[in-house]
């Protein structure tokens, strides 16, 4: 084509324009990330001190920390993982090992993928109806269960994906020396897929540690030190929600500090999960 023709120039112009847009869009996306993290560090870091980790949430106008919400979050997260992980791993095991080509597996995979992105506030309503309304009071158990419902689909998905990647020759070798199928799965397949399965659990923890919506009307909130899971339990995201929307300056600054803690915990978890996943690929 003649480089001086108007058509050529027009196509060149359009290309330069759209490629510029591509650079711009990427710049925009990265800018958001930088701005959000910078604001978090800027606003949250000034409030970061030992008191945050050693003192209870204060009444408005006095100093305090975030000890009870941090502990509450940790406890509910641990229970949620303890409930959700075995269930998710077993379900993923069925889908990858026993019923890989079943109708049931196809249906479960489809439903699980929908649960994976279902609105978390709806899960909160579900647990409210099933547990809080029946027991007659808000409780830490209800909060933990609603988080567990979020854990399950994440673990199911990664477990199935990772087990499918385990080479069949390993399974055949185990079977050929007479290992029963259940032991073959537990001793050989799980071991081969371990890194990926741990990654799945870490991603699930990262996901639930920032979840607020399902806790609002299951675990509610608690201003005081309480490890009683039959009573309302305070959690970091809910306290951030409450404090950020309050008119008090010191509450707002604590909310920023809490936001900083959560964000860096979540980002650290997802980076560790990525490193684990990358190791599996290279080894």
């Amino acid at each position: 084509m003649n480089p001086t023709s108007p058509l050529y120039a027009k196509r060149r112009r359009r290309n330069v324009l759209t490629m510029g847009l591509a650079y711009g869009a990427t710049g925009l996306g990265l800018t958001w990330l930088v701005i959000i993290l910078a604001v978090l560090v800027w606003e949250g870091f000034s409030g970061l001190s030992w008191a945050v980790f050693t003192e209870m949430t204060p009444p408005p106008g006095s100093a305090g920390g975030l000890l009870n919400p941090i502990v509450g979050s940790l406890v509910m997260t641990v229970i949620a993982v303890l409930i959700g992980t075995p269930l998710g791993i077993l379900a993923g095991t069925y889908m990858a090992e026993y019923g890989r080509f079943d109708k049931l597996t196809t249906v479960v995979r489809f439903i699980n993928d929908i649960l994976l992105s279902a609105p978390s506030i709806v899960i909160g309503l579900f647990v409210y109806e099933v547990m809080v309304a029946q027991m007659g009071h808000f409780s830490g158990w209800a909060g933990a269960v609603s988080l567990a419902v979020i854990v399950v689909p994440v673990v199911v998905r990664t477990t199935e994906d990772m087990l499918v990647l385990v080479p069949d020759s390993l399974r055949e070798a185990a079977a050929s020396i007479g290992l029963p199928r259940s032991l073959m799965i537990q001793r050989v397949a799980y071991r081969a897929a371990r890194a990926g399965m741990i990654t799945g659990v870490l991603l699930a923890v990262a996901r639930i540690s920032g979840e607020t919506a399902p806790l609002l009307f299951t675990a509610l909130n608690n201003q005081f030190w309480s490890l009683n899971l039959n009573a309302p339990v305070s959690s970091l995201p809910v306290v951030i929600f409450q404090f950020a929307l309050s008119p008090y300056k010191d509450w707002q600054s604590l909310a920023w500090t809490g936001a900083l803690i959560i964000t860096f915990a979540v980002l650290a978890l997802s980076i560790v999960a990525r490193i684990l996943a990358a190791q599996r690929k290279t080894s």
Binding site: A25, A118, L125, F126, A133, F217, V266, S270
Partner: protein, 338 residues
């Protein structure tokens, strides 16, 4: 129990000629292994069924909880705007409208931006930068939504109020339709702000799926087009996009599902006003924000039930959108698999 876990296997694996274990012991062990094998199989099957039970439980409990409200208001619940806890009059159209409009704003911004980022990552970006930038964009998806909320309330909304919204109002003030959309005082918080924040939140979902499907375009197709003298844009527009269409739409629907159900970020910045306003700059509400704001304060069964009915509507909408997304992505996988 006579044997621990390890010896059981050893016994089972030993030949019949073993002198240390008698025939009877061996038969007993095999019997037990058979039992535990069956038990484990049924256990995993039960766990797989539990996933279905969870979904069934969500649907049943939402319908059960919303029955009082649906019985009282019938279909008028879907199109009434009034939301008055004092007189116990509830209609869902204002939150539904807010949910749909904020998600639309989010998609209008996030889809083109996400596609352009995916294009950058697959065609323009130097190899060594692809992974870091891809991870950075995906980290946006990892930031909890409450962080977007607090950031939106204290940083983004004031910024929009002072710099962007007055500008929009003055620019569009004389154009017929746009002047209604961008009318009124700049509140900062409102439907427009919520839509923008949602756009940032769903961007990573659209970007990462689009990038994956763009990367799956066979290089030979692109090379053929480049060989004909196509520009990068023409390759992207006429080769990659048509090839990746199904996957891109699947990714968009997935992002839409997220945007519709997103709660905390929206709750912070939308203003929680139960009315439909012509202006995008006015405060509004969404289904999820209404539930988050009002559920713990809801007094009376009818009020609670109306909020659960809102949740049911939200779940039905997102279920349909997500199901379409998954079906499209499944179709894509089937094609790649062949």
């Amino acid at each position: 129990m006579k044997w621990g876990r390890q010896p059981v296997v050893d016994v089972a694996l030993q030949g019949t000629g073993s002198s240390t274990v008698s025939q009877i012991d061996r038969a007993r062990v095999l019997q037990r292994l058979r039992l535990s094998d069956v038990a484990f199989r049924h256990l995993t099957r039960a766990a797989a069924l539990a996933v279905l039970v969870i979904l069934g439980g969500i649907i049943v409990s939402l319908i059960w909880g919303s029955l009082p409200a649906l019985r009282t208001f019938g279909f008028s619940f879907l199109h009434e705007e009034v939301w008055n806890p004092v007189t116990e009059q509830f209609g869902a159209i204002a939150p539904i409208y807010g949910t749909v409009v904020t998600s639309l704003i989010a998609m209008l911004i996030a889809v083109p931006v996400g596609l352009f980022i995916a294009l950058f990552l697959t065609e323009l970006c130097p190899m060594w930068l692809r992974r870091p930038i891809g991870i950075a964009i995906e980290l946006l998806a990892g930031i909890p939504s409450i962080i977007y909320g607090i950031w939106g309330l204290f940083v983004f909304a004031p910024f929009l109020q002072q710099h962007v919204q007055p500008f929009l109002i003055s620019v569009f003030g004389d154009i017929p339709v746009l002047s209604t959309l961008f009318a009124g005082p700049p509140y900062g918080i409102g439907v427009f702000t919520a839509g923008l924040i949602l756009a940032i939140m769903v961007l990573p979902f659209i970007t990462s799926i689009s990038r994956d499907v763009f990367e799956a375009v066979p290089p030979v197709l692109k090379e053929a087009a480049y060989g004909l003298g196509c520009t990068t844009w023409e390759v992207a527009r006429y080769v990659m996009l048509p090839y990746a269409r199904v996957g891109v739409i699947g990714g968009i629907m997935l992002g839409l599902g997220r945007a519709l159900g997103e709660t905390m970020a929206v709750t912070f910045v939308i203003g929680n006003a139960h009315r439909i306003s012509g202006s995008l700059l006015a405060p509004g509400t969404t289904i999820s924000a209404t539930i988050a704001n009002e559920f713990t304060e809801a007094v009376g069964d009818l009020y609670t039930s109306a909020l659960i009915a809102l949740g049911l509507i939200l779940f039905v909408i997102t279920f349909i959108v997500l199901a379409i997304a998954r079906l499209l992505l499944l179709r894509l996988n089937a094609r790649v698999g062949r």
